[in-house]
Symmetry: C2
Subunit: 152 residues, 2 copies
Amino acid sequence: MHRILTAVTALSLCTAGAASAQDYAGHLKARQGQFRILAINLGTLGDMAQGKTEYDAEAAQAAADSLVAVSMIHQGPLWPEGSSEMDMDGTRAKSEIWDDWEDFAAKWGALGEAATAMQAAAGNGAEAIGPAMGGLGGACKACHDSYRAPQN
Amino acid sequence: MHRILTAVTALSLCTAGAASAQDYAGHLKARQGQFRILAINLGTLGDMAQGKTEYDAEAAQAAADSLVAVSMIHQGPLWPEGSSEMDMDGTRAKSEIWDDWEDFAAKWGALGEAATAMQAAAGNGAEAIGPAMGGLGGACKACHDSYRAPQN
């Protein structure tokens, strides 16, 4: 009984806003949040690559590690059917995502590979960041080109 | 009028170095998004533990893996000073986070340990999820008790 109560308590503590079939606002926040995390860490690495901030091996490595961490989040649960830009305000997710989920997932996998390459490069100096950043930019663009609607 | 607005805009752009609360809206979305990802995946696991949904080893494992992935995101870059509930609307982050960052980071580390325990348990049947969920609930609660302000 105690275990059940503990599990229920854990749920009520941690799942505020989680899946309610008719309301995917939380799912939008979840997936947009992960892109923000990518953006913040890409910004850190980009600023170092361009000399806007001084190279800091530890910060660069942490940023790259965070990119890899985000890329390890399974995307399926964050993209329920019925949460495209055709269904909801506040998202640019094209319905093509669900028409070709396998390709969408493969493009997420490509982001993971590019992040892993950055993870290997980031600690090796500012000049090592640029080429890895190119790979990440390509992975971002490939998915955006296919699956993100233009800004209104 | 337009010139005045432009000057004001330019001023606000030029003083961005002394980061205003406005600059951190993306950081709020980033950190709140990661908590949403946790919530969605904890919801999946909790529903299975309580028999609300049928146990699915693959989905349970994926959910646990995503918890671990989120726990691997470095928190430092997501919590700049000046982004507490005292500084900004839209966050319940108490200023105590920055008063004792080391403890805050340790509590995030404890979430990682609890997630890793769930990762080891989730594939072993619905009844294995409950105890691991208790550990996760404890990790959530420990941090919320210290560092999350009450809801308004």
